[in-house]
């Protein structure tokens, strides 16, 4: 066991876990932040996507040792006092079916819009194709990302 300090949604958190423990399990089990989901543990599905220093990252493949000292944003920290435009768009388009993948979808979409506020349809599809949705809500995911990007335009 070792001690690691990282910033989670703007707050400094210190955890005492084995260095190879994935960030996913530190979030879910140690910090009790259960919005980030376990889907495959191998980076294929994207359900565990968080931002690490602003970059969309698979938390299931990120040992806590490599997240130490860095800034992690999770679905719980995506909105502030108000919802992120993507969260609002997800509600407006009624995107989720089972909903299990949607935290990862939202974090991937948020990383896209942070870098490319007004993506083309092709950029949306390319960015979102790393995240599996077993319910296949893909059509509404595309609509919601477009809607949010237009909301950002104001």
């Amino acid at each position: 066991m070792s001690s690691f300090t990282l910033s989670v949604n703007g707050s400094a958190r210190t955890v005492d876990v084995a260095p190879d423990t994935p960030l996913l399990w530190v979030l879910r089990d140690t910090l009790n932040m259960r919005g980030t989901k376990f889907g495959c543990g191998r980076g294929f599905c994207g359900a565990c996507t968080v931002h690490l220093d602003g970059v969309a990252t698979r938390s299931c493949l990120t040992p806590i040792a490599s997240a130490a000292g860095r800034a992690v944003t999770t679905i719980e920290g995506l909105g502030t006092s108000t919802l992120h435009p993507l969260q609002q768009a997800w509600i407006d388009e009624d995107v989720p079916q089972c909903g299990y993948c949607q935290a990862g979808q939202l974090m991937t979409a948020a990383a896209l819009l942070a870098k490319t506020p007004h993506p083309s349809d092709g950029e949306i599809v390319a960015a979102m194709s790393g995240n599996l949705c077993r319910c296949a809500t893909y059509v509404r995911i595309r609509r919601a990302v477009r809607r949010a990007s237009q909301a950002v335009a104001g």
Binding site: P22, M33, W90, D94, A103, A136
Partner: protein, 730 residues
């Protein structure tokens, strides 16, 4: 429990709402002055309306759409309605579960009645308060009104008075659908705001004080069990507490054997599991393989000895007389469910009771399995139903809940069992594999004169050691003729209705490969076979596809209900959805070079769906460019979930058609995760245009309806583009 019994137990709802675990939004707000006329409605004096969702939501949207029926008759203001998930409650609800697209047809009537009774009592309370006749009072969302006097009272202010009134045993008349305010409007999912915030909702999110985590290692060979277990290295992993052995139950869909590593975190349990050293007793299944299964299918088909399920006329003589013939064989692969939330469940067995928190599709039947696994009476099992991160039929079985219960019993603490993705892929209960041989033909008048379908599959019934016929899980619909007149028989899954010479033969054999229900069970491949053959006949015979259908299905209003069809089948409704899809797709509009257009229709669990697909094929590159869906589900309750289920169901069908295949080698499942078992990704998902037949017919389910016609529509489009007939999926 029948409806009368259900209404007789009114007034005891609050007990079902009180739960003491750490997912939000479930706590009861009932006060002594709350109005709770039945298990679905609670109105508090402050005006809060709570509607209870009795059955599990796995993404099909029933937690939203079913409470809409209650709210409609109650005339509740939806913006002021809170929906809570019921626990398992045998007395209050009878059976609880979600499967077979059955929630809507089974529940809508009593949900209407539950709302109507509550509304009638509120009206009576207001009428008594005002000294007017109840018949003079009306309601508008959230209020009782009296037009003559201009009086108006909100439901909350009437709750205490309404709670003192006797609950009628028979419901008042229901609304005329023309008066609906809520049904038929687009209502967003009640859990969506929580989902987008990452609020804990799912089985995997359950936390119980003192809870331990378990990972279970199962024999890699299907049907095997642990022999010698050396747990020393596992127990040395930091955080690991105990290693216990699970004995399976007689029915392998109830519980399979394994070795559980119990630890203080899921990561530690997983590390401990990897450190186990187990010698397996692989059993008879070690030689099983996909190649061997296919060989057995072919041999059984070739050597005969199939069971004739139904027969009319003389298929062999008619076959010789056909002028247009199709003779095709089809290979049906195993499919995995791959719910994105891996199987998991939390259990606490203590003091002669078993408390369960988990993502169960079938809490009622699951409680029986769980009780048997831990040796308790079923009444000792309590189930708190969480949201399900996908179902697709996998969670009709409750084996993972039985595992959690047994591990909890063995270690004497609350335990959450969590499967890895590899566990899920290796130890799923797969969609049965199979082999089909169809001979069908048109006579010299261009009429469908012969249909001979020989079907050999693995059987879910045989795997679960059911005593009824192995074919009954693999051919839904009419299994014996309903009438001696062949014109009166219809088989929703295998279509020889008015075909004068038709025969359906079935065969199966035992295997260790686990099988279970997969979204639109049986329909999901049988429709592919039927619609591929029909398409080939129509194209070769140059017959209008709708006319062909009209000819063999007939145009009578109904063909009798069978055990699997809750409403009479109306062949005209199937023809209408196909016509609607074709028209919306502008099916006669020319396509670019290398494109093809195909279509298919199917009747699943009381609803009708048709799909038109457009594909482009250049070299070996196939792209599905467009999907147009048309559905008739009776009176649609929530167009938003209907559209979602149609898009999702169609793309699920496309994913299975393009990529879905589990293979077996040396008794083991080859695929481990989403690298080997591909699912459709966003870039591969075409837009799905959804068209709904306006209908006042009885409402039917729509979670599985759009899926069966997709694979044949795509295959038929490929045939048009290339002349190649696809007979093997993926």
């Amino acid at each position: 429990m029948n409806r009368r019994q259900f209404f007789a137990v009114s007034g005891s709802a609050a007990g079902g709402l009180i739960v003491a675990w750490s997912l939000p939004g479930c706590a009861s707000t009932a006060t002594r002055r709350s109005f709770k006329p039945n298990g679905f409605v609670q109105i508090d004096p402050d005006g809060q309306v709570t509607i209870t969702a009795k059955n599990p939501d796995m993404g099909q949207g029933v937690k939203t759409s079913l409470p809409m029926y209650v709210a409609e008759e109650l005339d509740a203001d939806w913006a002021n309605v809170r929906v809570v998930q019921a626990d398992l409650n045998r007395d209050l609800y009878g059976g609880q579960g979600s499967g077979g697209s059955d929630n809507t047809p089974s529940e809508w009537q009593r949900l209407h009645e539950a709302g109507a009774i509550a509304r009638a009592l509120l009206v009576t309370a207001a009428a008594q308060r005002w000294g007017v006749a109840a018949a003079e009072c009306e309601t508008e969302p959230g209020f009782v009104t009296h037009r003559a006097s201009g009086k108006r009272a909100d439901y909350g202010s009437l709750a205490a008075d309404a709670a003192r009134l006797p609950v009628p045993k028979t419901p008042p008349p229901l609304k005329d659908p023309a008066q609906y305010r809520l049904i038929g409007t687009k209502v967003g999912g009640v859990d969506v705001p929580a989902i987008v915030r990452g609020t804990p909702l799912y089985g995997i999110d359950v936390r119980v004080p003192g809870m331990l985590h378990a990972a279970v290692e199962r024999c890699p060979v299907h049907g095997g069990q642990p022999g010698r277990v050396d747990a020393a290295r596992a127990l040395a992993v930091p955080g690991v507490k105990q290693v216990v052995t699970l004995t399976g139950l007689e029915n392998p869909t109830h519980l399979r054997p394994g070795v559980a590593v119990v630890a203080d975190s899921s990561w530690a349990a997983e590390q401990g599991r990897k450190a186990l050293s187990i010698t397996w007793d692989e059993g008879a299944g070690a030689g099983e393989s996909s190649a061997r299964l296919l060989q057995q299918f072919r041999e059984l088909e070739a050597t005969g000895n199939l069971k004739t399920i139904r027969t009319a006329g003389d298929v062999d003589r008619a076959w010789r007389a056909t002028t247009t013939r199709v003779d095709l064989t089809f290979e049906q692969p195993l499919l995995a469910h791959a719910t994105l939330e891996p199987q998991n469940c939390t259990a606490h067995v203590h003091d002669g009771r078993c408390e369960i928190w988990g993502p169960l599709q079938m809490p009622t039947s699951g409680s029986t399995v769980i009780a048997a696994a831990v040796g308790l009476p079923v009444e000792a099992v309590t189930i708190h139903i969480t949201r399900l991160g996908g179902g697709f039929g996998r969670r009709l079985l409750s084996d993972y809940a039985a595992e959690a219960a047994v591990v909890s019993k063995l270690v004497g603490a609350p335990v959450q069992v969590l499967w890895s993705r590899e566990d899920d892929m290796h130890h799923d209960y797969y969609r049965p594999a199979g082999f089909h041989h169809v001979r069908a033909g048109l006579d010299s008048h261009g009429r469908l004169s012969v249909w001979h379908h020989r079907l050999i599959t693995l059987s879910r019934n045989r795997y679960r050691k059911a005593t009824n016929g192995p074919e009954m899980t693999e051919i839904y619909g009419l299994l014996v003729p309903q009438s001696t007149d062949p014109k009166d028989t219809y088989d929703p899954d295998l279509v020889p209705t008015r075909i004068p010479n038709c025969r359906l033969d079935y065969g199966d054999f035992a295997t260790t490969v686990p099988t279970g229900a997969w979204r639109a069970p049986a329909h999901n491949f049988n429709a592919f076979v039927i619609e591929s053959v029909l398409d080939e006949l129509a194209r070769r015979g140059r017959i209008d596809p709708v006319a062909l259908r009209a000819d063999y299905l007939g145009d009578r209003a109904v063909i009798p209900v069978t055990m699997d069809t809750p409403v009479p089948y109306d062949p005209r409704r199937e023809q209408d959805v196909l016509r609607l899809a074709l028209d919306q797709a502008e099916w006669q509009r020319p396509l670019p070079p290398h494109w093809g257009r195909g279509w298919a229709a199917h009747y699943t669990f009381g609803s009708y769906a048709a799909i038109v697909a457009e594909v482009s094929v250049e070299g070996n590159r196939l792209a599905v460019e467009r999907l147009v869906a048309a559905l008739d589900v009776g009176l649609p309750v929530n167009p938003l979930t209907l559209e979602a289920q149609t898009q999702g169901g169609a793309l699920d069908g496309l994913s299975a058609a393009l990529f879905g295949e589990i293979t077996i080698d040396q008794g083991r499942t080859v695929q481990s995760s989403f690298d080997g078992y591909r699912l459709l990704r966003n870039a591969e998902a075409p837009d799905v245009e959804v068209h709904i037949t306006p209908s006042r017919e009885k409402p039917m389910g729509y979670g599985e309806i759009a899926l069966p016609p997709v694979a044949p529509a795509v295959a038929n489009a490929i045939f048009q583009a290339t002349g190649r007939r696809i007979t093997r999926l993926p």
